[in-house]
Subunit: 201 residues, 4 copies
Amino acid sequence: MARKPRNKREQTRLTLIEATIQSIVEIGLPDTTVTSIMQRAGLSRGMLHLHFGSKDELLEATAAFFAEDYYVKQEAFLKNVGKDPISRLKAMIDADFSEELLNQTTAIVWYALRSVAHTNEAIRQHATTRDQRLLDVYSEIFKDLALSKNGKQLRAIELAYGLVAMTEGMWMDYFLFPANFNRRKAKEIVLAFITGQIDIN
Amino acid sequence: MARKPRNKREQTRLTLIEATIQSIVEIGLPDTTVTSIMQRAGLSRGMLHLHFGSKDELLEATAAFFAEDYYVKQEAFLKNVGKDPISRLKAMIDADFSEELLNQTTAIVWYALRSVAHTNEAIRQHATTRDQRLLDVYSEIFKDLALSKNGKQLRAIELAYGLVAMTEGMWMDYFLFPANFNRRKAKEIVLAFITGQIDIN
Amino acid sequence: MARKPRNKREQTRLTLIEATIQSIVEIGLPDTTVTSIMQRAGLSRGMLHLHFGSKDELLEATAAFFAEDYYVKQEAFLKNVGKDPISRLKAMIDADFSEELLNQTTAIVWYALRSVAHTNEAIRQHATTRDQRLLDVYSEIFKDLALSKNGKQLRAIELAYGLVAMTEGMWMDYFLFPANFNRRKAKEIVLAFITGQIDIN
Amino acid sequence: MARKPRNKREQTRLTLIEATIQSIVEIGLPDTTVTSIMQRAGLSRGMLHLHFGSKDELLEATAAFFAEDYYVKQEAFLKNVGKDPISRLKAMIDADFSEELLNQTTAIVWYALRSVAHTNEAIRQHATTRDQRLLDVYSEIFKDLALSKNGKQLRAIELAYGLVAMTEGMWMDYFLFPANFNRRKAKEIVLAFITGQIDIN
DNA sequence: AATGAATGAGCTTTCATTCAT
DNA sequence: GATGAATGAAAGCTCATTCAT
């Protein structure tokens, strides 16, 4: 994962979070129990409550870690990209469909967390950050693009919204049918949508 | 709901399915128990096992009912629409963002069912029918449109895929942030995407 | 015990209460667990929570039953006694030191309940009824006696208080040293205390 | 408390015992855990087992300390009192109802310890010393009094028993209803009982 | 057919104790 | 001596399911 643990305490916390993720991926969130987590962590039952107080708090910490991890990895994709909006746009789309950001683990965990978002405010906070973040970054890019190209500034936010929705829907498609998913084609269609609205060539 | 029960037995089954849906909406799928269902159904505990054998089978029946119900309501929107592809396209989009098909209940239940799809094959079957059905109908429409208009037949499936993904992403947005959702704007953006790819005016 | 259960539901509740009492007597309140209770009740674990919701509520019901049971048995002793205060006084003392009201079970349970009275308001309610009831009844008797004999009405309550305290202390002695306890001698000393204050011969 | 610790080791032991007492007073014996004790002691968990081996042994040491502390404080009350039995009797009663010997802490801890006396022999030893000690001292006093006054030597032990029982019952009353307790009145009633049996004026 | 009391496996959590540091 | 992370048995409780009525 993204961050190196600084000490043993943090290492153990990370082990528990990763075991939680593994359990959600393997048997699903509803069947994820303290036992299923501790078996995967290779630790004793008490550690969960020693480090997180309760299973619910571990789940929340897992959600927080997941959102943060997405952010960190996305940043890495943008680090070596120039300032021009088209490069950043393409880098963002590349990132969003990369194996690192979109894989069996991330897809399963995202949708598991989101499925409980409407009855768990703490998890909701983390399970919706990706959407808002994507919206913000794309909006910025489209504002820049619109200004420099054809001035249709007003539509930048709507364009971003449609783009986020489309990538969101493709993530869901990957989640439901991972075997049939085609990353290249997904990106092509997304770019075709943008090209239809704004000149980026 | 969509169908009238034909006899008392079917009426009881429907009561149980509706109580299950209500429970998922109110307290979430993980917290939905036999007790929470029976309280809402106003029936005795034994009825669940008498009519469905187990809680899992009731859940599966609920998923089947849900998929069927979506299909029936969608059909109703297309019934009085002419055969021309553009009318059908607009009717489909109107349907997908209508209060009847997209509301708090449908959104919550769809994503609850999908969240367990990857560990429950029986539910997966029903939780993914909407996607496939949308894809099929939109593909047909775009094939017709492309044929009659500008002949870019090869891209019909891709266009349909992008469209389904975008509407899917907007459903998710509605699920996560129902208060901010704007049905009219959502449809506008979807149509803008299509207009950018194909001439439908 | 004092009351006949009216139906099966009440019978089961009574079985659980009696098993709780038995467990407290045999292994003490701190070691009384759901398991220790259910073993003695010969029922499955779930019954406790089905009938009482939680262990704490069963404990409270046990305390309530105990206080009520004391009251009912005490009443039985006074039923066939005449109205004159001296007869009633002697009947009360006889009752309080009778095998039926003061035995290994009652002593252990009373002091177990009282020991948690200061951190458990619900149990406190029941664990202190005996004191107030004794005080009330003895006060009445001494008021009658004082009126009919030597008119020292003002001291009736104090006399009752001293008498209740003394019997209380003797119960504690019985609780701590049951093997050495002498019911006859206890009653003699109690009566000597009263005789020293008021003429009852 | 009564004794000055002689070295650091004894100081730590005393800190643990006092933290145990504090915990029993604040949250009750059943809820007193190693954690609740160590929080109040401000020491690390390991110290308990280092100094006492186990929680049970700490509890036993606490009981021993408590009995000893009672004895030491009672002695202090008798130190400057003359040898005549009546002075000693009054000093004893004054002591038994003094704020120093009878207060919220002593009452709660005594009855907590006693409540487990019948299943814990080690604690039983210490939890019953007060009774025996009071009985011994009062018996001596009444023997002296009886000899010097009216010779009813045989009843000295019984008188002492009644007196101990009464003070015991009043302690219990203080334990259950500390807000209503009246030390002066309690002593008056105790003295009235004695005066009714033996001439001490 | 309909009921809801009864079952017990399995859940989350607490706890006294151990032991590497 | 001193610490507190680690352990796992056992605690209270929930739950889908069964079955006598």
